[in-house]
Subunit: 369 residues, 2 copies
Amino acid sequence: MTLHWTAAAIDGAARAGTLHTAHGEVPTPVFMPVGTAGTIKAMTADAVRSTGARMILGNTYHLMLRPTAERIARLGGLHKFADWHGPILTDSGGFQVMSLAGLRKLDADGVTFQSHIDGSKHRLTPERSIEIQHLLGADVTMCFDECTPFPATEEQAAESMRLSMRWAARSRDAFVARPGHGLFGIVQGSTFAELRAESVAALTAIGFEGYAIGGLAVGEGQEAMFATLDVTTPLLPADRPRYLMGVGTPADIIGAVRRGIDMFDCVIPTRSGRTARAYTSAGQLNLRNARHADDGAPLDASCACPACRNHSRAYLHHLFKCEEMLGPMLLTWHNIAYYQQVTGTLRAAILDGRFEAVATRLEAALDPA
Amino acid sequence: MTLHWTAAAIDGAARAGTLHTAHGEVPTPVFMPVGTAGTIKAMTADAVRSTGARMILGNTYHLMLRPTAERIARLGGLHKFADWHGPILTDSGGFQVMSLAGLRKLDADGVTFQSHIDGSKHRLTPERSIEIQHLLGADVTMCFDECTPFPATEEQAAESMRLSMRWAARSRDAFVARPGHGLFGIVQGSTFAELRAESVAALTAIGFEGYAIGGLAVGEGQEAMFATLDVTTPLLPADRPRYLMGVGTPADIIGAVRRGIDMFDCVIPTRSGRTARAYTSAGQLNLRNARHADDGAPLDASCACPACRNHSRAYLHHLFKCEEMLGPMLLTWHNIAYYQQVTGTLRAAILDGRFEAVATRLEAALDPA
């Protein structure tokens, strides 16, 4: 059977369910930590597992450059390489080509670009992106698309979206179906409701195992992002998983689950962890702040991660002040654990039919008045 | 009862025993990972424990500057701060003042120096060093001494050693005896046998719970170090633990255990781990070397640490090539695990009365012909 999603409960538009993959089942809503180059930065795979994370993301762009997809395939695939035995979703490389690569040239067939590491020349097409993701062994493969920059005129957004839709059809043709594996289409159209609807129609006509919403969290702001979800998610097939790419803060995730999103990925918890920013059940904290120097209290008393269970805020502050690696290690661990707590709490609330009450309480705690 | 050591077996000059401390018993020979600023660099305390490490070292110099000994005392002591529930040995600060601090001035009473971090002025005397180590909560406190630089003339070495002996007497007076805690004297005298003997006589006349050999591994080379041990350890009381400070490579440790040393500390396994150098049962490897890029074999098939159990050499190579933090994290973990395997193997061999056979086999594997 191919990769698929089953609903367990619906509460308003919020959905709790299960994603069934070749590497196991994943309760949704799910937050996938980002393992850019085959590692969730500053964490062992055992540590990632201990947070309750069940699925991670790998980046086609980074892995095709180093160590290369062919090398990972020879070594037995990304699961083995990275010691991750649960499902892996890989992006298509399109977004990083646009945000990281050097000189790049887009044509109707694909993108030619220079590596940001050594300037070497590379090319991605829908066919090559799908091939790379197959070599990596992704459970969820993403269509090769262009992430429309923000802001864009309606004409630019339409042209970009239609290119992505042509590439989506080519991605579908290139994808090799295997049990427990699937291909997700990516809805584009910037913040224009009619373009989003056109994009959904194009993708559903092709047919995918899941639908992602791309081109958001690129500067449009939370209000415009939520407005775009409001006009897009109702159009998506109810029986397929929905993935909001690159999102976001805890408040973004709560708001998107409220609007029917099942899957998330974002570098915020890992990147913030490396720069001393903690996400907690009582809001954000900067551990570099001198006010933590003598604070013997745990970072988040309601969290069971090693940073919270074994150490004080004073210790975490000390580690960042001394630029000790253990600071980023512990804070990344905490942030990923906290994100898992958020999605786990939302899931339990949906199953209980209490989503709004729980979501509202979480939101209020995140932003103390 | 004060901190003490009991012998379990003697094989030639090699000793297996147990160090009894306020924070538990430690089988010897023991290698203590170095937790400079209250963290074994790149490892959580849980990870350190998982290697079998039972005792760690903390640095008075680093901790007195950041976060300060008084702050650690207010927060409940170094054990709680660093989440280390086994015994901790702290050095006296003297060695780092000489190797790291800025402008410094030695007088008969102590040393005045500038912090290498912010240039602020500080002073250490025997009394202040012992007080700091008490504030940290050290199980083993080290006498404040001057680590004689190498090379030194016999006159310089004698003068330096005699200063350290006067400071040892002051350290003994300043030390507050508590059950399970102890003070170690430090033998100095550079590579001069008569000075080493004079130093041992001075220290044993004062009386300490253990005896360290200082002023070695400072450039004299392994042959001179072993020659100095040959003329020093036979003079030390047989019923007290013996600690060779700042040593060393696996081969150094094997040779020193052969000569009757019980305790070791060194930054080699941690520092090497951060720079891609692995110590394995088959010798050293540099994981940056391109020959590892396609090697699906584990780093050390006989090791059960996560780097060896969960990953390939190719993955470790990839992490260092991408400058991912997980590279230093995994390789430090392995190196510390390997050092624990070495001391554990030596201990088992002494208990079996097979020390020479086992030590010779380990040495041969370390240095394949």
